[in-house]
Subunit: 149 residues, 2 copies
DNA sequence: TACCAATAGTTAGTGTGACAAATATATAAA
DNA sequence: TTTATATATTTGTCACACTAACTATTGGTA
């Protein structure tokens, strides 16, 4: 195995990640889900945690603060999320789903699980475990200081 | 294995792909490479093919035409690439590296191979083959009509 | 009290990605 | 030859990623 061959992983990884996002986004669109793939990730995490600050949420979804600010802006505009002032810390917000947001998550969750299955045709449970292990190893190799998940 | 667990691959895949790009970009920056990760991919492919049209190049690097147009614009501005008119087809360009572009690729290639190795610490050659197989299977599962590579 | 470093979040700038539509040119069909 | 269709590239718009710089606030410390 030469260095040159090893370097291909970055290309295949990027290409596949984009394809996965693009496929899901097309399905989201044809189903009139009214959210993007990344907005869904945020909604899903908010639905699993009663109240979160933007920093806590950013750590859950592994997005940086500016990106999260904009996603939250869009979700607020769409009426799925509300920023409530933190009772003790005036710098911070407490994020939570609106009623509309809760019912949006409830109605979309099964459809999205179904969309996500398509990628695993022709692959086994063992493949899935290996895939997760390799992805996490790569992530940790490049993540410098800290260990995540 | 529940549906719910399967759906995590998209999160891990996206997270890892971003980390890989981010890590490389940081190394590119601290080494004053004067190109982005995506610009490098384009330069590398141009260096391996004497003359390409934008459409041919787009198919090689799996980027869409508008994205490629803009990357080429930047590389031309930096003086690494030139658009030459196609002798028979006035709609098309023939892309090629300038002398500066050629020497840029020559000087960066070994450094970038070295950067790319970091991700594979603690992983085996077999892992690498499995990883490629799984990525390509996912890609093909979602790619609808055609078979790529 | 006054200062100062750390933290929460936002804004701005650049690059990239996806998609739709527009422009120009080439080629095939009538 | 005229018309229709296909191809190559560009432009515009929205969303996301990353960096740097900025505001406001908090908490510790002299």
């Amino acid at each position: 195995m030469t260095q040159e061959q090893y370097s291909k992983y970055s290309f295949l990884l990027d290409r596949t990640a984009r394809k996965v996002k693009q496929y899901a986004q097309q399905q989201f669109k044809s189903g009139d889900f009214d959210v993007t793939v990344d907005q869904w990730l945020v909604l899903k995490n908010l639905s699993e945690n009663d109240v979160l600050s933007q920093t806590e949420l950013a750590n859950l979804v592994f997005k940086d603060h500016p990106t999260l600010t904009r996603i939250i802006d869009l979700l607020c505009k769409k009426g799925y999320v509300e920023r409530m002032p933190h009772p003790q810390d005036r710098r911070s917000f407490q994020l939570h789903l609106t009623e509309t947001g809760v019912s949006k998550v409830t109605s979309l969750r099964p459809e999205i699980l179904h969309i996500r299955e398509k990628a695993w045709e022709n692959l086994s449970t063992h493949d899935f475990e290996e895939f997760k292990r390799i992805l996490n190893t790569i992530y940790q190799n490049l993540n410098g200081e800290s260990f995540d998940q």
